[in-house]
Every structure is written in structure tokens, then in C-alpha cells.
């Protein structure tokens, strides 16, 4: 949050304008070609269940894209807070595929090495999620939650786990979380081959 604030305070060195950024987004981000249709009406941000959690709602983020505020955009937590509920996509009066754009901006930020793509809460959570998916072919709530906690360091992880223990016990009692060996699907190997192929295609499409 502080880094983002700095990026928007006039006179601070972090404020950088890249006048080619909007064009780059139009041409390289999925759905970006439709971004020029945005009329800044506010429906997306006003419809977003996570709108208040985001550094900027989609509408403001898109204005910042147009203004060329590359760093501020790619450091924002907006992309990682999106839950892909698609409210914005179905309601946008201009046919802007808001969610697709956010998703791909997040990927671009990760590729370009922006730290926020690794350190925001939801980025950590997504990482733990894909770890569990790769390993077991499904989410093991217990292990993947702990994996997520671990991304903050062991001490912090134990603290977080203890704090949530009573919830965990209830989940176990209602059979929403299980103890013992993790359940796996049969074809984890095949699944990983599919995921590897997807990564390969993505790389090819990005021309990397």
C-alpha cells in the first residue's frame, strides 16, 4: 500500500509516466484492445465485491493505464484481489472484459518481476493453491493453507495456524477438512503434463 501511495503522490520520485504503456496494454494484454472503450462510468468498481479491498478499483486502474502510470498499475494489489466473480464483465456497459484484463495485467506484473505479484496476500494464496494442485491434483485445505501461511516465514505461519485452530477443529468435525494422508487424484502425472503444456503455450504466445 505505501509503495502505491508513493507512486501517486506528486513530486515523489516513484511517480513515473510511461507514455507508451497504454498502447502496450491495448496490444499485449488479453482484452486490452477493448480497454479504449472504457467511459469511466464506475459500474465495475461499484459492482465489485472486493472493490473496497483494492488499492484502486478497476475503473481507476484503467484510467491510470491511460495516464501511463506503469509502475503504479503493475504494483497495485487490484489484480490479485479479483475473485473472478465476473460482475464487472456482465455489467460493463461498454463491453470491456474487465476481469480478463486484470488477470492478464497480474500475469504481466509477475513476468516483469514486480515484487507485489509475489508478496500480496492473494498472490501468496494462489501460489499455495497451485502447489497443492500440482502435488495432489486437488486442494488439500489443511496442507495448502499451511503452505500459504509458511510464505510469511515459519514463526508467522505457526502464529496464524494457532489463531485459526478453532475454525480448523470445526471444519474437521463437519468433515470439511480431514486429518491423515492427503487425498490424491490418480493422474497427477498427466495433470502436470497438461499444466506444463499450458505454460509452454503461454510462453509461446508471449513470445518469450
Amino acid at each position: 500500500m505505501t509503495a502505491n501511495m508513493a507512486a501517486t503522490i506528486p513530486g515523489q520520485s516513484a511517480r513515473k509516466y510511461d507514455l507508451g504503456f497504454a498502447r502496450w496494454v491495448y496490444e499485449n494484454i488479453e482484452g486490452g484492445d477493448k480497454l479504449s472503450m472504457c467511459m469511466q462510468c464506475g459500474v465495475c468498481s461499484g459492482s465489485c465485491p472486493l472493490g473496497t479491498e483494492m488499492d484502486y478499483g478497476p475503473r481507476k486502474l484503467f484510467m491510470m493505464v491511460r495516464a501511463g502510470m506503469k509502475d503504479a498499475v503493475l504494483k497495485a494489489n487490484t489484480m490479485y484481489n479479483c475473485t473472478s466473480c465476473y460482475s464487472c464483465v456482465v455489467r460493463c456497459p461498454r463491453g470491456v472484459p474487465v476481469q480478463y484484463i486484470l488477470q492478464d495485467l497480474g500475469r504481466a506484473a509477475a513476468r516483469m518481476g514486480y515484487q507485489e505479484a509475489k508478496t500480496t496476500d492473494n498472490a501468496r494464496f494462489a501460489k499455495a493453491f497451485i502447489w497443492s494442485t500440482r502435488k495432489f491434483g486437488r486442494t488439500d485445505e489443511r496442507l495448502f493453507t499451511f503452505k500459504y501461511y509458511l510464505s510469511f516465514g515459519l514463526g508467522e505461519a505457526i502464529k496464524k495456524a494457532m489463531a485459526n485452530m478453532s475454525i480448523a477443529i470445526k471444519l474437521v468435525k463437519t468433515k470439511r477438512m480431514h486429518l491423515g494422508m492427503p487425498h490424491r487424484i490418480k493422474g497427477t502425472k498427466d495433470l502436470n503434463a497438461i499444466l506444463a503444456k499450458a505454460a509452454e503455450i503461454e510462453k509461446r504466445e508471449q513470445g518469450i
Partner: protein
């Protein structure tokens, strides 16, 4: 070769159709004017007052009715629609279909039939906000000034009672649908618009609360001859509506609904803000907008409304309107000038729904015409064709522009029939 027929057919008797018919007739042409409903006047008759000068619609309509009465060149058929058109410019064979009014020309509008009627039907003039007797006068500015008897009472004891109540033998319950043919040289489509169906804008919950209304319903609430005799109140409980939200572009400029700007709704809502403020000193009106489109001569009205400290402008297209726990409609969205996420409760929320041309979906134009992507009929269709359009059938126009397009259409039609 001279055209065979010099008669001009005008379809639709709103302000545009009326104006086109009168202009052509006063220039000497023979005119047939067809109106689908029981009366002339169209949507303008349903406005409380109309901008820019906030005139009562009677002013505009009454003078035109006088001109029609005085002019022998105009033949008027109400409750009449075009079924088929064949032929070409100068010689169109038109089949007209009429639906029964069950009241003939002997009617003096004494109202005895309405006294005798016992059943009620939803009142189309008030957009169903109240009901009328099954024998009714469409509204106080009806032309012809003649009652209508709803088909539902035909063949019932109520129908018989209505018939015997009329001293002038004007009730005709035997009347059936009829068709007749016309030969005309040119046709002007002036079939106007209908309000965009607010229920289709799901996030705005129009169907969920009686206190979420449309702009055309607001016109009726504010009108002295409306369902509340001009009191702007909450339809749910009749309490004064002191805190009011007006939502611009409800369904307009929206690729999910009407992709175009309806052009009049901004001014319409500025007018509604003034209605509320005039009625209650302690009222508050919030206008939610993307941008206010008050151009040319209408800018002055905008400036006047803006100067009123009881009217606030919030630059935001709301994401949703929900019914709060206290039952009041609550407008939710993002204020785009700051970045505040708001949820504001109101007595009533008015959706400024746009104008959808009737020619788009309401009826099928029974002859080949050129339409734009939204169903508006282009002003002069095809080379050498005798088919024209006027008013909102042509584009989202206000009254004065509708009248201009009507005069233009009359002139083009005269040129077409005179060859």
C-alpha cells in the same frame, strides 16, 4: 409519368405525426392519419410539463387539434394500424386494420358509460400505476374526445348495463375488427417510441420495489391528472418522497441494452429534480450521471438546476440498486470523482430509461425501409422512394426536433407525390 395518388399517409399520431399531417394538409395535400391507440397526442400527452419552457402539454396539443378540426384535407382513423403495403412511390396499396372502440361518433363524452361500468383495467395512460373503469376516456386531452369500451365487458351483463346507460346510442358492442384499403403516394412513419423495459436492467431491481420507478412514471406522479393528482409520493405507502435519486443512462449507452444515447433523459431528469424541489422545500435530489448532456439551448436549464443547493450531482453510474433492510431502495456504486464506494438510501429511485423506437421490436414495419442498427428508420429511405420517417421513429429527438423532422418529412412527401 405523374404519380397515381397524391395522398400522403402518416402512420402514428404523436406530436411528430400530427405535425407532419398538418403541415402537409395546410400545404394542400390530402392526408390520411392513422393512430394505433384511441387518441392522438402520443407520449407528449403523458408528460407533466415539457422542457425547455416547462409548458403544459395541452399548450402544444390543443392548438394542433384546432388546426386538424379546421382542415378538410385530413382524414383521421384512430385504433388503426397498417397491415400490409404493396407497390411503389406514387402508388402504394395499403391495407389498414382497425380494432373496435365500441363507441361511435355520437359520443358526447358525458361519461354515463363510465358510471355504469363496474370492472377496472390497468390504466395505460398512467403506465399501470392505477386503474380505470372498463369504459373510459383515455385522458383529458383526448382527440377525438370520445370514450372507449374495453373488449373484456362485451357479452357480459356489465356490457349491457354500459350500453343502456348511454342516452345517445353511442355504444356499439357488436363492432368487430375491420380492414379497409387505401391508395397513397407517400408514407411517413411517425410511430414514436416506448420506454425501455426497466425490468431487463436486472441489477437495478425495478421489479423488486414499488419505490423504484421509471422516468415516464415520474411524469405521471408529478402530473395533476396522474394517479396521485400530482403528489410526488412513495408508491409503496403514499408518504411524501423527499429524498429522491435520479439514475441517468438506465439502460442507455449500454451495450447490454440500448447502445445509444436517448438524448432527452438528462433534460428529463433535470426537469424531475425541479418538480421535486418545487413540491417540498426540505427535499434532496441526487442525480447519478456519467456526463450531463444538455446541449445548445438546453444548457441554460441545466445551469439553473445546478444552482439549486438541494440538488446534488454524483458522477457515477451505479453498479446496483438494492432493497435495504428497512425496505427503502438503496443505490450502490463508486463515486468516480473520489473513489468512494457508496450505498445511499432513498424514498424513491427514478430510473431514466431511454426511448426505444416502436419500429425496433414493438411492431414490424410492413414495407421495406432502411433502419439503423437500433431500429430507427432513416429519414428518407431508398432512392426515389416515397417512404419517410419523422420524430422519434427517426432518432431519439425531443419535441422541438421531432416537429422539425416532421416538417421536413411533410415537404419530402409533398415533393414525392407531386412528382
Amino acid at each position: 409519368m405523374a404519380p397515381n395518388s397524391q395522398t400522403i399517409l402518416v402512420v402514428g399520431g404523436g406530436i411528430a405525426g400530427i405535425s407532419a399531417a398538418i403541415e402537409a394538409a395546410e400545404a394542400g395535400a390530402d392526408v390520411v392519419l392513422l393512430e394505433r391507440s384511441p387518441t392522438l397526442g402520443g407520449r407528449v400527452a403523458g408528460l407533466n410539463r415539457y422542457f425547455p419552457k416547462l409548458c403544459h402539454p395541452t399548450c402544444g396539443l390543443e392548438i394542433n387539434y384546432q388546426r386538424i378540426k379546421k382542415n378538410k384535407n385530413i382524414k383521421l382513423f384512430t385504433m388503426a394500424q397498417v397491415a400490409t403495403v404493396e407497390g411503389q412511390a406514387g402508388n402504394y396499396k395499403v391495407t389498414v386494420k382497425t380494432t373496435p372502440r365500441h363507441v361511435n361518433a355520437k359520443c358526447t363524452a358525458c361519461g354515463a358509460c363510465s358510471e355504469a361500468a363496474t370492472s377496472e383495467i390497468p390504466n395505460p395512460f398512467n403506465y399501470g400505476l392505477d386503474t380505470v373503469k372498463a369504459a373510459y376516456l383515455p385522458h383529458e386531452m383526448a382527440f377525438p374526445m370520445r370514450y372507449v369500451i374495453d373488449g373484456s365487458v362485451v357479452g357480459t351483463p356489465e356490457g349491457d348495463a354500459i350500453k343502456s346507460s348511454c342516452k345517445y346510442d353511442a355504444v356499439d358492442l357488436e363492432e368487430k375488427e375491420k380492414t379497409f384499403d387505401l391508395t397513397v403516394g407517400a408514407i411517413i412513419w411517425a410511430t414514436g417510441w416506448k420506454p425501455y423495459d426497466a425490468a431487463r436492467i436486472e441489477p437495478y431491481s425495478y421489479s423488486e420495489s414499488p419505490d423504484i420507478i421509471t422516468n415516464v412514471e415520474m411524469e405521471r406522479l408529478a402530473a395533476h391528472n396522474g394517479p396521485t393528482k400530482g403528489q410526488i409520493v412513495r408508491p409503496s405507502d403514499g408518504e411524501p418522497a423527499r429524498k429522491v435519486a435520479l439514475i441517468q443512462c438506465a439502460g442507455s449507452r449500454d451495450t447490454n441494452h440500448l447502445p445509444y444515447c436517448s438524448a432527452i433523459c438528462c433534460l428529463g431528469s433535470l426537469k424531475h429534480a425541479a418538480f421535486v424541489r418545487q413540491q417540498y422545500d426540505d427535499s434532496q435530489v441526487d442525480i447519478y450521471y456519467i456526463d450531463i448532456r444538455a446541449h445548445d439551448k438546453l444548457e441554460a436549464f441545466y445551469q439553473k438546476v445546478k444552482a439549486d443547493s438541494g440538488i446534488h450531482f454524483i458522477k457515477s453510474k451505479p453498479g446496483s440498486i438494492v432493497v435495504g433492510e428497512d425496505g427503502r431502495p438503496t443505490v450502490c456504486g463508486e463515486d468516480t470523482l473520489g473513489r468512494d464506494i457508496y450505498a445511499n438510501a432513498y424514498d424513491i429511485v427514478v430510473l431514466a430509461t431511454g426511448m426505444e423506437p416502436c419500429s425496433a421490436r414493438e411492431y414490424r414495419v410492413p414495407v421495406e425501409v432502411e433502419m439503423d442498427d437500433y431500429g430507427f428508420i432513416v429519414p428518407k429511405t431508398g432512392n426515389g422512394s416515397g417512404i419517410f420517417s419523422a420524430g422519434v421513429a427517426q432518432g431519439p429527438n425531443d419535441v422541438s426536433t421531432s416537429v422539425q423532422t416532421a416538417t421536413a418529412a411533410a415537404l419530402r412527401a409533398i415533393q414525392a407525390v407531386r412528382g
